[in-house]
């Protein structure tokens, strides 16, 4: 005989992500999942944004890497609370890892929690971490065709940060192309063009972020 279910396949991660989101909401913390390829400039972007965050927004960071403490040490040097997760092989962070790392932070002293994901444009698309906002970071040397090649991660993001814009004169990068593709995939997502090292575009991006956090 047939047992009728007609239910979504429950992904364990989704349950845990919902728990994380509830915990962050209860603590008044706004979660941001930062995704992008290895070397796209995620950590450098965070460093630049922290220098600009207005309205006394207090950040904290969960760093995700396969190995090493390099990124956590950079964030720590700025006096920002940080926890490093070493996945030891897993190609993405998941909600369970983030829950564990959240336990090591004093969330009562935090306004916005940045979760810097493992460098990966593929698998990170499938794992909700409990964030309110997902931002995808794409650097100019990676090329302007990435939204077509890796649609899921761009579609699931609330903003696109094009980084390393200072290198554009040396490249074949067409910002209009990726901006148009992003408009199809995520019509309400703004596209920011920044150079974190030179400071271009950072104040506008920080302002947008502060508005998002404040309007939660």
């Amino acid at each position: 005989m047939k047992i009728l279910a007609a239910k979504k396949i429950l992904k364990v991660n989704d349950q845990l992500a919902a728990d994380n989101r509830a915990k962050l909401d209860a603590a008044g913390v706004f979660g941001v999942n930062v995704v992008g390829s290895p070397g796209s400039g995620k950590t450098t972007l965070l460093e630049a944004l922290f220098a600009e965050l207005h309205a006394g927004l207090k950040p904290a960071v969960i760093e995700g890497d396969i190995a090493g403490l390099i990124d956590a040490q950079r964030i720590e040097a700025l006096g920002v609370p940080v926890v490093q997760i070493n996945t030891e092989g897993a190609c993405h962070l998941d909600a369970a890892m983030v829950a564990s790392a959240m336990g090591e932070l004093d969330l009562s002293a935090v306004d916005v929690l940045f979760i810097e994901n493992v460098g990966n444009l593929v698998c990170t698309a499938g794992f909700d971490l409990g964030e309110r906002l997902r931002i995808v970071v794409l650097s100019t040397p990676e090329g302007d065709d990435k939204a077509v090649k890796y649609p899921a991660i761009f579609q699931g993001s609330h903003a696109l940060f094009i980084t390393k814009t200072d290198l554009t004169p040396h490249l074949n990068f067409n910002a209009q192309r990726i901006t148009a593709d992003m408009k199809c995939l995520a019509p309400n997502a703004p596209v920011f063009q920044v150079s974190a090292l030179k400071g271009q575009g950072i104040p506008e991006a920080a302002k947008w972020l502060a508005e998002k956090v404040g309007g939660r």
């Binding site: 005989m1 279910a5 007609a6 239910k7 979504k8 396949i9 649609p151 899921a152 199809c184």
Partner: protein, 123 residues
């Protein structure tokens, strides 16, 4: 992508549904709907099932997968076209004012169990 963890969760979910319906017997078949834009590869899903089913209540069960198309709705020409893959322009008029609907879900539709074994529900 990550079909092993999906099948792992599916097997547990099948177990809960079977238990909820008061059955203790063998699962003969599982019917799934997999959206074409869900990012799940059906061959990998079958393979993951072969790896994880032995020793569980779903060992030997036949997995039937219905692949569900998505649709591209165009605001410029009002067309609604079924699609198997993501598009960036309307297949009819090539316009870019489009919305992609559906095709993303993974649904456990039903579970076929042996008739013979059933216990009274309420335990």
């Amino acid at each position: 992508m990550h079909e092993l963890s999906i099948v792992d969760a599916l097997i547990e979910q099948v177990g809960r549904e079977v238990h909820r319906a008061g059955h203790t017997g063998k699962v003969r078949g599982i019917e799934l709907s997999i959206g074409r834009l869900s990012g799940v590869n059906c061959d990998s899903l079958h393979f993951a099932f072969e790896l994880l089913a032995p020793g569980t209540l779903v060992e030997g069960a036949e997995i039937v997968i219905h692949q569900v198309k998505a649709a591209c709705r165009c605001h410029a020409c009002n067309a609604r076209v079924e699609i198997d893959d993501l598009v960036f322009h309307c297949p009819k008029c090539a316009g870019d004012d489009i919305i992609i609907e559906g095709g993303r879900d993974l649904i456990l539709q039903n579970i076929e169990v042996d008739d013979a074994e059933r216990v009274e529900s309420g335990e």
